[in-house]
Symmetry: C2
Subunit: 233 residues, 2 copies
Amino acid sequence: MTIAERLTWRDVYDTIQGRILDATYPPGTRVPRDEDIALDLGCARATVQRAMRALADEGLIERKRKGGTHVLRLPATRATFHIPVARLEVEATGARYGYQLVSREEADAPRAVAAALELHAPARMLHVRALHLANQRPYLFEDRWICVETVPEILDVDLSRENANEWLLQNRPYSRCDLRFFAMKASADEAALLQAEEGDALFGIARSTWNGADPITTVTALAPPGYELHSRA
Amino acid sequence: MTIAERLTWRDVYDTIQGRILDATYPPGTRVPRDEDIALDLGCARATVQRAMRALADEGLIERKRKGGTHVLRLPATRATFHIPVARLEVEATGARYGYQLVSREEADAPRAVAAALELHAPARMLHVRALHLANQRPYLFEDRWICVETVPEILDVDLSRENANEWLLQNRPYSRCDLRFFAMKASADEAALLQAEEGDALFGIARSTWNGADPITTVTALAPPGYELHSRA
DNA sequence: TGACATATTATGTGCATACATTTTATTGTT
DNA sequence: AACAATAAAATGTATGCACATAATATGTCA
């Protein structure tokens, strides 16, 4: 004899997701209101709400007050990526991580940097270039500008030993982050640093971060041919 | 005189996030238990729970039963991307969308395709290549393999008029999706199709989808130089 | 000392209820 | 017929409570 177990929101989630996947609720159609589903499945409305919110977060359904719940016509294809913290990424592959400072100098923000950080006035910056290595081989080259006004302590950090990215992450949490992925041809310089050929296709990641309105840093990271960014959902 | 308004979970969220960002709760430290925060801020524990779950989902904190809540040392650097449905992406820029079938033929799955879809046995596939255009210019070139056994109806779809990607999304929802982003040099063929130069750096998106254990499709989409994938958080 | 059973604790979940919010539908007025 | 005021409907949220679950700390016994 089966015991009348309580449904968890996960059960409801699975049920509804199943009905969407097997087209019991086809794309574009309306899903019954929470209360009816609750009645149907035999649980509280709050439980259905919890499940529905999860489904909505994942982009399968759309909810509107009074409008009800609808299955999206084109399910939102979104992917969550873990942005590489180079050291962790390298270590995860079992390789030995290495770090090498290429250059470090104070300078005023050039046009492109000011634009990336949405600066309105000229700003003093620390310009750092560094290499991340996996088993002695170039893994990622980063070209970074750090806003000295926002992060004055950075001037006292020994960046020949410590990785600017991780120092910033641990000491300057950010509240906003802009990301861009792109492909570009390697210049002679970049090719040399990455031990690649000039003109090779590099994978680029550009990131800018702020805390509130204060600009923190903007980086462009380049990966040699063969690099891939993964995600599974 | 201010009315004693109730706190919403969003208020609690903002408060705690603020305390993390201004290092009231520094990285690695423990955050008070939900009940104490509730008592402190003057709301119900459930409200705190709601806020904490959101913060945990976003990768700022980590929660463990009995272990309590901790601020992560390296705040999860993750980003959510909306994978382009080419037509919508083009239309969003105000350009006119166009679609052009390049080739269509039935064939057995070659090695690479079988691997991408984790096929154990040889499988009959439909191989489709197509161009997405923005204002008549190449925007994205897709090379797609569709599993005929899982999606037999695809053989009856007029792919010279209808876009395989959207047809599949609307008719074959998937439960799993693998994604890869990469950069590669354009071959002569690809360059011609994308009106680029041979050897140009192309941005690549490879996607495979399944419904349950059934393989649906695997695509490689290539974008001409200048293409960027964005995300802001 | 070490291993295993047991208690404790913080988060996770389900439920019932009341009310808030938003958007649509209806009604009424000019 | 057009427009504004009003009602209605669905989801969203806050609360209190009881209990479930998982991880840690404690205690007992060999």
